[in-house]
């Protein structure tokens, strides 16, 4: 089992969700986040004083999947999130040792879905 963490552009969320559904990945958790990367920020002004904004709005998606689902999930995210421009984001894959479904107490692979 793996835990897939992806940072994407907020306005790509619906596309990514769509692609994930197509790949039969229905479960996920989403958090709003801010990111600094290659994408350069912009400058705000407040009452004549500049504010360098380099933490940009991003959306963080966390998906726990069985090994067989890792590649399809990654492909789906890339498909939905890619615009080819800097700022598209990253996907991180972390090993997942155990999963428990709180409702039923099921564990492991059957708990994931």
């Amino acid at each position: 089992m793996k835990l897939i963490i992806a940072y994407i552009q907020p306005h790509k969320l619906s596309d990514v969700k769509e692609e994930l559904y197509k790949a039969e990945v229905y479960k996920m958790s989403v958090t709003n986040s801010m990111g600094a990367g290659q994408q350069k920020g912009y400058t705000e002004h407040y009452r004549g004083v500049d504010i360098e904004v380099n933490l940009l709005k991003k959306v963080r998606i966390e998906i726990a999947v069985n090994d067989s689902f890792v590649q399809p999930t990654i492909d789906a995210i890339v498909k939905g999130a890619r615009s080819g421009e800097i700022g598209d984001g990253k996907i991180f894959v972390v090993p997942l040792e155990e999963t428990i479904r709180i409702r039923s107490g099921e564990t492991g692979n059957e708990a994931i879905g």
Binding site: P10, H11, E44, V59
Partner: protein
Amino acid sequence: MKARLFTLFIIVGLLAGGGTAVAQDQSTEEVLALYSQAFDMIWLILAAALVFFMQAGFAMVETGLTRAKNASNIIMKNLMDFSAGAVAYWAVGWALMYGAPSLGGFIGSNGFFLSYTQETMSAYGVSDMSAIFRDWMFQVVFAATAATIVSGAMAERTKFVGYLIYSVFISGLIYPISGHWVWGGGWLAELGFHDFAGSTVVHSVGAWAALVGSAVLGARRGKYVRVNGQVTVKAIPGHNMPLAALGVFILWFGWYGFNAGSTLSGTDLSIAHVATTTTLAASTGAIGAMITSWMWFGKPDPSVSLNGALAGLVGITAGTWVVSPLGAVIIGFLAGIIVVLSVEFLDKVLHIDDPVGAVSVHGTAGAWGTIAVGLFADGVNDPGIVGLFYGGGAAQLGVQVIGVLAVFAYVVVAALILFGILKALGLLRVSEKEELQGLDIGEHGVESYSGFQIFTSM
């Protein structure tokens, strides 16, 4: 200091000599004349202040019903359309609307920059500047009302600079001309067209400009998604319902100045009649829209019900002085239903993107209210104006329809020219990137809710 003690003297005088202080230099008739003017002065200036306050109402409604990332932009537009519009109305607008003599009933010709001579004053019908200032003050806030309606319909995608240019033209030129036709003694007035406080003269003018503006401008990114030819309509929820509701309450409050103030006289005892019909129509408007949304969407919709109250107010504005309370109840209720139908029609059929429902509230309901005069006028306050349902025949009705159509045609053409030019000059719409990021950052370089975590997937 002089000012500070001024009244004290009078009063003392009056009390001491039982009014002899007055008697000395003024005959009773003169005092009565002064008081008559004082009534109108107090009444109209306070009413004007109330109407001014409606600007805050518009700002809150428009802010609440759009997204957080555009809040500062919509607020700047509301602040600036009044500021620029007031200057334009002082310089030009007022003269074109009320500057006697009227050029063929189509346009005024006098009083630019509020400069008057004794002749031009008496041509207007007053004998000193105090009356001019009083009437200008009451009229400028009406002009600003017409102007500010547009910002809501064109919200979240219109360039700030383009909007500024627009505001100058509507307050300085477009609104005053049609205003002259009705309130300046122009040709519609001659026809007997009745629009007491401006369902058509003010609200529809703003709304038809808004209609053209949002059509020319196009919808907000993501509002109408075209998937293989098929258009699906998406919702873009407003970000602050409490502010929107506050705005509606402020507008309703200001409307007492808008409608009751339009008696133009503080000694006109029909003021209460106007306030009563206004109150009832607003109430039934909210009820009508709530019920309609409930039956149609399954739940009573807040933002639509708020639109309903405003539709009731706009709807009664033309006939408030000539219809009975019962008439007001009916007019308002129907306005509440009509506004929902209109909102849905624009959104789902015409796909014209009006984020706050301005066109439906001020245009559709405004037209309805103006025509309703021809149906519900009961001839009590003005025996000359009797509607179809009160045995007045179709005459008044016909005139009302003519007025509605004439103003519609005029404003559509004028707005098409104005917004067409702005579009051609590339001053109308912000870039897609900016629209995505929000106009607050793009146009003003600020955030409206600094620190708040706002989840924007749109």
